[in-house]
């Protein structure tokens, strides 16, 4: 792949890796427990938002199933901890593989027909959420309705001993996700995905293998969300269907990405930061319902006023305010 020799691309990779190193060194060393826990959640949201943007942002196929992939990762990891003494790495891999496998099955089926695009795709991924919830809450191996205590199974391990370690893991996953996101921003892969968003039929007629790209990217995006589920299982300590598969998770992820904008790979980063800070600020209200209302209302306002998100509102080259029509095709 010639695109990977592009210097600007490597500069971005280096910047991300540099930020990650600073975060891994500075936050656990100087931060209080609160800062570390907050940082862990923040980084997890970044992984989710970036991985959602990877598929849904690039292709325009909006998935409501991202919370499901995250939740499956959480439950897969919890099942590994509960039924075996395998180390954390195994749980992490199982989490990613489980989410990726589900996405593979769904993707192969759904993308086979062009009818399931747009809102129909969104609803199918939502239906997937309900089926997965029914399965998980009825299968005793995974949950069976009582919830799973993870904490007692991971007490002795490295990952389970401190939130600092979870933070380091999450940062690692974020670097991985950002790396993939950067790669899609300027390689053939990313260009193919965006051509699907702009006009799938034209892309196909010009020889872009849209089916293969869609399935592949859907799987990668889901697997990344699944990976993020593994440290989340330890962080939560007690895993329960209602919280893990809450509809808020896809809503927040979509909100972060829309707010940040999908026309640049780093848009979701800004979105994740804004939403996490907003949520933290709303905690002081003491009413989860009220903060929910404000968040939902904020999403409506953001969609109405900033269809391209924050990053889309910033001109592509600083100084030139000219906006070419080609850039207008962005957020859908």
């Amino acid at each position: 792949m010639n695109d990977l020799r592009d210097l600007a691309l490597w500069r971005q990779f280096a910047a991300v890796a540099g930020c990650a190193v600073v975060a891994v060194v500075a936050v656990p060393a100087f931060g209080s427990d609160f800062v570390i826990a907050f940082g862990f959640q923040f980084v997890t949201w970044i992984v989710l938002a970036l991985s959602w943007g990877l598929f849904s942002g690039n292709t325009g196929y909006a998935s409501f199933g991202h919370g499901v992939f995250f939740g499956i990762g959480t439950y897969a990891a919890a099942a590994v901890f509960r039924h075996s003494d395998a180390p954390f790495v195994v749980a992490l891999l199982v989490a990613g593989l489980a989410a990726g496998a589900l996405a593979l099955v769904v993707g192969l089926a759904v993308f086979a027909s062009s009818r399931f695009s747009g809102d129909l795709f969104g609803l199918i991924t939502l239906a997937m959420a309900f089926i997965v919830v029914t399965v998980v809450s009825n299968v005793a191996f995974l949950d069976g309705g009582t919830g799973v205590f993870v904490r007692e199974h991971v007490v002795g391990s490295w990952a389970g001993s401190s939130t600092r370690h979870l933070f380091v893991i999450a940062v690692g996953l974020a670097v991985l996700t950002a790396g993939v996101a950067i790669a899609t921003s300027s390689t053939r892969w990313g260009a193919a995905l965006r051509s699907i968003r702009d006009d799938e039929q034209v892309a196909e007629s010009l020889g872009v293998p849209t089916y293969r790209y869609k399935v592949l990217t859907f799987v990668v995006s889901a697997a990344l969300a699944g990976l993020a589920g593994a440290p989340q299982a330890i962080y939560l300590g007690y895993v329960e269907v209602g919280a893990v598969f809450s509809l808020n998770i896809p809503l927040l992820v979509i909100m972060m990405t829309i707010l940040g904008g999908i026309t640049r790979w780093w848009g979701p980063l800004i979105g994740a930061a804004s939403v996490v800070i907003l949520r933290e600020a709303l905690l002081d209200l003491g009413s989860p319902e009220l903060s929910q209302i404000i968040l939902g209302g904020a999403l409506v306002v953001v969609i109405a006023l900033l269809p391209h998100g924050v990053s889309g509102a910033i001109p592509r080259r600083w100084g030139t305010r000219r906006r070419t029509p080609a850039l207008e095709g962005g957020a859908r």
Binding site: F64, G118, G122, L123, I131, V135, E289, L290, I303
Partner: protein
């Protein structure tokens, strides 16, 4: 495990009547999705809101449940018009409208649990006996019984779906809606006033949520998360019935609920929600086959 035919008949009957309720919820969704291109989650929230408003008016002001429609129907019409006008103002794409209604869905859940508390609220103990005593069916089927409320659901569903189907097929405005669905720009050129028409359709669809909400409040205990339990059946019925076809959605909802209820007789009932989606995926998987069969038939005819 053997199940008596009486139990099966009663279960199927209950399922069919509950399906009527879901069919009347699906009516608004089907019309908005099929004709306005808005896959409206918020319609389910409006139904819930209608149910809670009915509950409050009945318990606190001691209104007759049917009288509450005089308030909720016009109020919901205005809400429906307002939401559609917002979509018009921001020139929303289908996906944007889906997101906005999804956000409103979540907001409404929180609003309801703030105002009415997340606890179960039950209207049934407060109703007159006429509402709650089961009625035995007349002579040929003397051993089956129905709830009066289910009959209300049946009548409401039949009325609303019948009116909507008639209006869409046979009135001038209904034909304009069909034309608009096929090609809005051309319809506008030919004299269809698109904006007032979409606003009116959206308002009417929302108004049906008020009626469905009244039936809901009479039929089941209320919690803010009820729409999550409906969403499967309602959305699947809408899709199976064909977008924009209220009658199809009603029939699909009735069939779905009959299947779901019959399933619970033989298999663990906690799996019943998955049955609905199973039917949907089966239907989707069969699509290529039906298309193949149809093309076979038509090509045979032309050859």
């Amino acid at each position: 495990m053997s199940v008596s035919s009486l139990a099966l008949a009663q279960t199927l009957l209950n399922g069919a009547l509950l399906g009527c309720l879901f069919g009347s919820i699906a009516l608004g969704l089907s019309v908005k999705w099929g004709h306005l291109g808005v896959a409206d989650f918020f319609h389910l929230s409006l139904t819930l809101l209608g149910a809670y408003l009915t509950y409050s008016l009945v318990t606190e002001l001691l209104w007759d449940p049917f009288l509450t429609l005089a308030v909720t129907v016009p109020a919901f019409f205005v809400v429906g018009v307002g939401v559609q006008y917002l979509f018009h103002l921001i020139d929303a794409q289908p996906f944007t409208t889906l997101l906005i209604t999804f956000a409103l869905f979540i907001v409404t859940e929180s609003v309801v649990s703030m105002i009415w508390s997340p606890d179960l609220l039950n209207l049934r103990p407060l109703l007159a006996d006429g509402f709650t005593t089961s009625i035995r069916l007349p002579d040929p089927l003397p051993r089956l019984a129905v709830q009066p409320i289910d009959l209300v659901a049946l009548v409401c569903a039949a009325l609303m779906v019948g009116l909507a189907t008639y209006a869409l097929r046979s009135t001038r405005a209904g034909r304009a809606v069909q034309a608009m669905r096929q090609d809005a720009a051309i319809a506008e050129t030919l004299g269809v006033r698109v904006l007032p028409l979409t606003l009116a359709v959206s308002g009417l669809a929302a108004a049906t949520a008020a009626v469905a909400g009244m039936v809901v409040s009479l039929r089941m205990p209320l919690t803010p998360t009820l729409p999550l339990q409906w969403i499967g059946v309602v959305v699947v019925a809408t899709m199976l019935g064909g977008l924009g076809r209220p009658l199809g959605a009603l029939v699909a909802a009735v069939v779905l609920m009959m299947i779901q209820n019959a399933w619970s007789l033989w298999f663990p009932p906690q799996w019943a929600p998955a049955v609905t989606f199973g039917v949907l995926f089966l239907f989707l998987a069969l699509q290529p086959l039906t298309r193949l069969a149809r093309e076979r038939i038509t090509s045979g005819r032309t050859a």
